[in-house]
């Protein structure tokens, strides 16, 4: 495949991915957009102004979501990277354990753990939601980071030890810099898992931990499609902003980071 064709296909694919989000933006700015009109006849900002009016209640929810996402991302990425190192020289059977959280739908997981969380007094608490979200993000981080531990990277670690590195120096001077791209991707993706989570926040948070995702789903349930479109875009804003700052967070950094 020629370079030119590959570039055209790449950009075409990118446009296809972006198209639903562009439609959301148009929908959030339209007074009405009946099918089969290609373009709304009348535009308005009412949906967005409504969010502005609700900012005093929206901001704490957004901050709570952001702090949860960052904490989940940092903890899962750190623990996942270290665990993947431990598993690097063990049989692949151990690694399949990391797939278990994805075999159980979050709602089932939340309902089945609800009693245990209630007994521990974690229901309705920020910490409870954090603990509930962590297994999914952690397992994902383990799976993502395992690609880093090629034979060459393991030998580079041994070499550093042989040259006198203490364990902390090994991470700081060798694996940290080498895995920087991958860790960035992992942090971003695991933080997004928390940011977009609805089921666990609803069940474990029990109405006491209000996050942005809950607010958005409440808007969706209210049945106003244009308002829901604006709410969905608010949910998408942080990841879009992060991708705008560093587009490599999504794909190329990942492929380069896991290359042997």
């Amino acid at each position: 495949m020629g370079e030119r064709l590959r570039a055209i296909l790449g950009h075409g694919l990118g446009l296809l991915v972006m198209l639903p989000f562009a439609a959301l933006l148009v929908l959030s700015l339209a007074r009405s957009w009946p099918y089969p009109q290609l373009w709304p006849a009348v535009w308005q900002f009412d949906q967005w102004l409504l969010f502005g009016a609700q900012w005093s209640t929206l901001a704490p929810a957004a901050l709570r979501s952001l702090s949860l996402a960052l904490l989940v991302g940092l903890l899962a990425t750190g623990a996942g990277f270290l665990t993947s190192r431990v598993l690097a020289r063990r049989s692949r059977g151990w690694l399949t354990l990391a797939l278990l959280p994805f075999a159980v739908p979050p709602v089932v997981y939340a309902v089945s753990l609800g009693q245990a969380y209630a007994a521990l007094g974690l229901n309705g608490h920020y910490g409870g939601v954090l603990l509930a979200q962590l297994p999914f993000a952690y397992a994902y981080a383990v799976l993502l980071c395992r690609g880093y531990w090629t034979r060459t990277r393991l030998e580079l670690g041994e070499l550093a030890l042989s040259l006198g590195a203490r364990p902390a120096q090994l991470w700081w001077r060798v694996h940290g810099p080498l895995a920087r791209g991958l860790l960035g991707v992992c942090l971003f993706q695991t933080a997004l898992m928390s940011w977009f989570d609805f089921a666990l926040v609803r069940f474990i948070g029990a109405g006491h931990v209000e996050t942005l995702s809950l607010r958005v789903f409440d808007t969706l349930n209210a049945g106003d499609l244009r308002q829901a479109a604006a709410a969905a875009l608010i949910m998408l804003a942080p990841p879009c902003l992060a991708l705008l700052i560093n587009p490599r967070l999504l794909w190329p950094a990942l492929t380069r980071a896991v290359a042997p």
Partner: protein, 247 residues
């Protein structure tokens, strides 16, 4: 790094190692005086690398003891042994340039910048790498990469240098250059060296003493003549080849 006349500087006793059900070697004994180079030959898969990794402290033996300079070092870290292991592939840290690769061990020891610069420049000059100091490792040839890896190992002044067929992937000229350089610099730095190879000629060039690892057993030769006289060492076959090949 001196040992008494009665006890060799490096002393390995009854070393045994298994990989699963397979015994790599059993009851391996080995002695080496300070500053000497031991060349160990053996076919691929005979356990040469495993032996070096155990001596380096990167792997542990199932049984036996390793004494370095009178100290029981069997469970010591590589750093505590003063051992540096040089891989067959010239592994360089890809995120560091040539200068920083050479300086790596000194940075770990928090050496002051001025002193570090002097040491690293000295090594770069000795290895004829000064012009490449700020090059990316990926842009170097195999010989250049191996020189950087070798210089980086010597920078930390290792008491024991463990070389795992380090020149096997080089072209003949680069290989000959590295053999000379290695011999000169390890003597200059007073390193004790264990050098494993499957190349008889290289073993003769590099080694002060010689040994052979085969079928899980290690045979130490009394001297160079004994090494050359043993048909199993491959020296006679090599000699016969050249005698027949040359006009």
């Amino acid at each position: 790094m001196t040992a008494t006349a009665a006890s060799p500087w490096l002393c390995v006793r009854h070393l045994a190692k298994r990989h699963g059900a397979t015994a790599v070697f059993s009851a391996l004994n080995l002695e080496l005086n300070a500053g000497e180079t031991l060349a160990v030959i053996g076919a691929s898969g005979c356990g040469k690398t495993t032996l070096l990794r155990i001596l380096a402290g990167l792997d542990y033996a199932d049984a036996g003891s390793i004494t370095i300079n009178g100290r029981d070092s069997g469970r010591d870290t590589p750093h505590a042994r003063g051992a540096v292991y040089l891989y067959q592939e010239p592994l360089l840290f890809p995120h560091l340039d040539v200068y920083e690769n050479i300086a790596f061990g000194l940075r770990l020891r928090n050496m002051a910048d001025d002193a570090l610069r002097g040491e690293v420049h000295g090594m770069l000059d000795a290895l004829a790498l000064r012009a490449l100091a700020h090059r990316d490792p990926a842009s170097l040839s195999g010989g250049q990469r191996q020189r950087v890896a070798f210089g980086r190992a010597l920078m930390v002044k290792p008491a024991l240098l463990l070389l795992d067929e380090p020149f096997s992937n080089l072209d003949p000229q680069a290989r000959a250059d590295m053999q000379t350089l290695c011999k000169t610099m390890t003597r200059h730095h007073g390193c004790t060296v264990v050098f494993v190879t499957h190349d008889v000629k290289e073993a003769l060039i590099m080694g002060d003493r010689h040994g052979r690892l085969a079928d899980g057993h290690y045979l130490a030769y009394a001297d160079r003549a004994a090494f050359c006289a043993d048909p199993a060492s491959g020296v006679q076959a090599e000699r016969a080849f050249w005698r027949d090949a040359l006009p």
